[in-house]
């Protein structure tokens, strides 16, 4: 985990399956392979025939107009909703029949569009909850305060502060999470997700409500996280400067269907995307 790698911005390579992944991830199992994924709510098809492959160390973007089904895709990938159709492979494992907890243990962690922190708990406890499965002692050892408890808690404490330091939040460790300012709450959600030691980090509108300089800082941090932890990141974002700035592969969703996939350049010049989404944005 300590090995620091810096990645060149990857060139996307088309696979025979019609998917794209960065060149450097070619030899490895893709961290995520979703095929023909779909879900219906009652009679309404929210997402249909969603195919996406994400490489081991890719930063992927999921964009689309409001209501396109982006968050639903996240909910499908993390099994908050069970898909009606299709398959999700995480790290080569089929996730059929798994629940959110099991998918998390496979290496998927996420943040939420409407922030979901453990508000009454301290920032540190929020992060430690992310490490819950990595902290190893049983209830008896905890109650009896055996040495293993002290050791594990100390390690967790140190690790939590270390993770918080990514966003320079270590001094806020004792503050209740709910009392943090909005931007800090978003950052804490990312830290908490990272604490679960994921190999795929899903960020749902991480820059929402941030000003341009905060957004820029966040972009740098997302890249830093990828480079430090050697993981894949997939993000939903409306801020095009962020998406175009750091995402290697971008997937555009409209009315629950993928309308385009490719690099930032491809997407920006794609007439379908411009019509559905970017065109309006560019003029404004």
């Amino acid at each position: 985990m300590n090995e620091k790698k810096t990645f060149q911005r990857g060139r996307l390579v088309p696979l025979p399956t019609n998917a794209f992944i960065p060149e450097r991830d070619l030899e490895k199992t893709p961290i995520l392979e979703a095929s023909h994924l779909g879900i219906d709510f009652g009679g309404l098809t929210a997402v249909d025939d969603f195919n996406l492959t994400i490489g081991r160390t890719e930063i992927a973007g999921l964009i689309g107009p409001n209501g396109a089904g982006k968050t639903t895709v996240f909910n499908l990938l993390t099994k908050v909703y069970q898909p009606t159709r299709g398959m999700v492979m995480i790290d080569g494992y089929d996730t059929a029949g798994m629940n959110t907890v099991q998918v998390n243990k496979l290496g998927v962690a996420r943040t939420f569009q409407n922030i979901r922190l453990f508000n009454a708990l301290s920032v540190e406890d929020n992060v430690k909850l992310g490490m819950h499965n990595a902290i190893k002692y049983n209830m008896a050892a905890g109650v009896l305060r055996l040495p293993v408890y002290w050791k594990q808690e100390r390690i967790a404490h140190e690790r939590a502060l270390e993770l918080l330091s990514i966003f320079d939040m270590q001094d806020l460790a004792d503050v209740p999470a709910g009392s943090l300012p909005y931007g800090a709450q978003r950052r804490l959600e990312i830290v908490r997700a990272l604490a679960t030691n994921p190999s795929l980090l899903l960020l749902d509108e991480p820059a929402a409500g941030m000003n341009p300089s905060e957004t820029y800082e966040l972009m740098e941090n997302i890249v830093k996280i990828r480079d430090t932890f050697h993981i894949a990141v997939m993000l939903i974002e409306h801020d095009m400067s962020l998406v175009m700035g750091i995402c290697e592969g971008i997937c555009v969703l409209n009315f629950g269907k993928v309308i385009a996939k490719g690099t930032a350049e491809d997407i920006q010049s794609n007439p379908v995307v411009i019509e559905a989404y970017l065109g309006k944005k560019k003029e404004g």
Binding site: T71, V80, F112
Partner: protein
Amino acid sequence: MADFFSQVVNALQLGSIYALVALGYSMVYGIIMLLNFAHGDIIMVGAYATYFAVCQYGLHPLVAVLLAVLISTLLGVLIEKAAYTPLRSAPRLSLLITAIGVSFLLENGAQLLFGADTKSMVKTPLISGTLNLGGVTVSLAAVITIVVSVIAMIALTFLVQKTKLGKAMRAVSEDMGAAQLMGISLNRTISFTFAIGSFLAGIGAVLHVGSYFQASPMMGSMLGLKAFVAAVLGGIGSIPGAMIGGFAIGIVETLVTVAGLSTWKDGVVFAILIVVLLVKPTGILGRPMVEKV
């Protein structure tokens, strides 16, 4: 056969009272998500009102009925205004505890004022009569109870589905904030809901007294609890659900009593509740609630 028929009438009679009370529970829950534990005690107050009007002051039964229903309705609204309105933005549990407190207050207040003993009604000719239905004799009270309940339920369905007020009630229960933005007065709508619920409880109280001829301070507690079970069974927040639940509980209790296990009937009612909740957590007609992620 005649015995079977009279048991069916008994079940429906009991069931319609449960249904009326369950409706009040269900409506209040639907609109402010509160388990109004005081609801059962409104029945108790209504029953005492009937008792005092008829037995102490010798009023005409019909006047007594009107009086009891009026008192119940006013009491329901008063409770809402005094105890629940100040807590509308408080945690839901606080509201629940308040409801329990109000229930305590009514029960113990009644015990203090009227004594702990059970007051027995004089059987006026209106309710002690019998009716001959195709060779089977049933009590007039049972027929009145069932008929009045069914009429009340139909009227309520009409009110909720067809009137402007009903539309406002449904809007508030769907989304309080949005309803308010559309110009619906929250306070008025909620008060109306309580008024209607308590009105039905008042009718239930009169019918209860008419059917079982007694009033006691604690009568509302188990009655209310079981009516509440009926509401949950049918699907809380649903009007037809409350009716179905009420009748179901009435039938089950009668069956258990007929089987000679009347001391077990509360247990059986709750056991059925548990089974239904486990098989279909939202009750027979309830809508599932989905949390948006």
